[in-house]
Amino acid sequence: MIEITAFWTAIYIAMLAAFTGYVVISRVPAILHTPLMSGSNFIHGIVLVGAMVALGLATTATEQVIGFIAVVLGAANVTGGYVVTERILQMFDRSGKKPGKGA
């Protein structure tokens, strides 16, 4: 069971993480909104590790079935999110290499 101190520690961490998320995004140009939305969509794919733990500690058949679904969905979030973001960003890369465009 989660201890009360651990709980408050987690709250502190969550607050700092919220600021981090805010600061990292706050000066983003509009053209990167799509890749960034896709990129953060990939990052919450970390749900996969939670799903793995949930299935790994499941004891009853019901828990196993639901845990299995969680891992399938989480894994799809991870790979799909990565590939979509990668494909979107790939285009930025190509145009960045265009000759005659001095940085």
Binding site: A14, M37, F42, L57
Partner: protein
């Protein structure tokens, strides 16, 4: 097996560090590409060390599930066309939300305390709403269900009732009071059914034009649900908490930015049922005038300044390559060509930039609405390629459903050529006054074909 569980926490710390670096790099055009690689590497090591979790069983099942889910995600994402990327983001986001909801269910089936149980219920609610809501968004954008808002009488009361019932069931699941009707085990499935139902009902009245904002909001929701699930484990999973909260915060900010770009409040996006009602007695006068490609080519060839306004139609027709050809031809003749990019052109902010970048149009030819708007009066020809709502002057007219939306003032240009597939309305379902203006001519046809014709005609001149 050797107990390697001591590596989990250090690796999670590295993971979070890489995630933040990755996101930061993704926020700058020059480093964006490497950002996803950092984040991807982090995800990979985090997944691997999670296999070392103490007392982990069902390892074969976990591996099979990863192969199935991961395989599907990978193949589907590789196969879809660039135009369909927005709905793919919605789809994968929904899956993340579904995973979060399923984790909550497992936590609630096990021995949860009042605290962990409450966190799991809230996480489950948000995750389930994100799951069903994102799937509706996916279906609408994919065209597998009508993208127009679905409305009925008493809708908001019905939606709120479902939400309240879901919350009540959730409270019953945590507290399990003795006086409740029905057996306690009914309330957990009931809670999830109601939560899924609310996500569905909440998304139905939202029209396709607002979907980017909604997808971004559900993205933030999933992040939050993941963080809450991280809290609800017996030992808190800090990787999930931090990554989830970062996405929740960043996603919320991104959502507000997008709503701002359309000059709408989030409340209006969610409850406005935008585009559901036909505008009463359209006050448009004049007639729609068609023009041929050859005439347009001549106009363009002898213009000094041309501005191209791309929209979703260009994406659908995959016309960006031809547009790039056209741009090069015009520039070689000494015509100044600029691209005016409305923040919400296409189905997502930056959608047009991505497509044009793909075709090789240089960044310094793309201009934001604010930069380019003062230039329209001194522009000879504006070429509107498959854009509609973002150039609709109705936005300046009080009483129009579009009123207040910042638009590109293309009507101020000397000539406006609108490339359009047919006489249909824009995504918002509103008649476009621009098409009836005296300086506007319509060039009908598939955007790729039409621009191709323009290129051919220009080459002959």
């Amino acid at each position: 097996m050797v107990d390697l569980s001591f590596v989990i926490e250090p690796v999670y710390i590295v993971t979070i560090f890489f995630f933040i670096i990755g996101l930061q790099r993704m926020s700058h055009p020059l480093t964006a590409r490497s950002g996803i690689v950092w984040a991807g590497a982090a995800m990979l090591i985090a997944t691997l060390v999670t296999f070392f979790t103490p007392n982990l069983t069902n390892i074969a099942l976990i591996a099979i599930a990863i192969v199935i889910g991961g395989g599907f995600g990978y193949i589907a994402a590789k196969r879809v066309g660039m135009t369909n990327m927005p709905q793919m983001v919605a789809l994968y986001n929904g899956m993340g939300g579904g995973a979060a909801a399923a984790i909550s269910a497992v936590v609630l089936l096990g021995p949860a305390t009042a605290i962990t149980g409450s966190l799991a219920v809230v996480g489950g609610l948000i995750g389930a709403v994100s799951f069903s809501g994102s799937l509706i968004a996916f279906l609408k954008l994919q065209g597998w269900m009508p993208s127009r808002p679905v409305t009925f009488a008493g809708q908001q009361i019905a939606n709120m009732t479902v939400l309240v019932l879901a919350i009540v069931s959730g409270v019953f699941v945590i507290l399990q009071p003795s006086w409740i009707p029905l057996s306690v085990s009914i309330y957990l499935p009931l809670f999830f059914i109601l939560a899924l139902g609310f996500g569905l009902l909440m998304t139905l009245p939202i029209g396709g034009a607002d979907m980017p904002v909604v997808i971004s909001m559900y993205n933030a929701f999933t992040g939050l649900a993941v963080a809450l699930d991280g809290f609800s484990f017996a030992t808190p999973n800090y990787a999930m908490i931090i990554a989830g909260v970062i996405v929740g915060a960043a996603g919320s900010l991104l959502t507000l930015r997008m709503a701002n770009a359309m000059n709408r409040s989030l409340t209006n996006v969610l409850f406005g049922a935008f585009g559901a009602t036909e505008e009463q007695a359209a006050q448009v006068s004049g007639s729609v005038k068609a023009i041929e490609a050859d005439d347009v080519a001549v106009m363009l060839a002898y213009a000094d300044r041309v501005i191209i306004v791309p929209g979703y139609g260009m994406a659908v027709a995959q016309a960006q390559q031809k547009v790039k050809e056209l741009t090069d031809l015009l520039m070689s003749r000494g015509v100044q060509v600029k691209f005016a990019i409305h923040p919400v052109a296409g189905r997502m902010p930056g959608h047009m930039n991505v497509l044009l970048a793909e075709a090789g149009v240089a960044y310094d030819h793309l201009f934001d609405r604010d930069e380019v708007n003062p230039e329209f009066p001194s522009t000879d020809v504006v070429l509107v390629i498959g854009a509609n709502d973002v150039v609709n002057p109705a936005a300046h007219r009080q009483g129009s459903p579009l009123f207040g939306m910042p638009i590109l003032d293309v009507e101020q240009a000397r000539n406006v050529i609108v490339l359009k597939r047919g006489q249909g309305k824009g995504f918002a379902g509103i008649e476009n006054d621009l098409f009836y203006r005296d300086n506007t001519k319509m060039l009908y046809g598939d955007a790729q074909e039409t621009v191709g014709k323009l290129v051919q005609a220009l080459k002959k001149l």
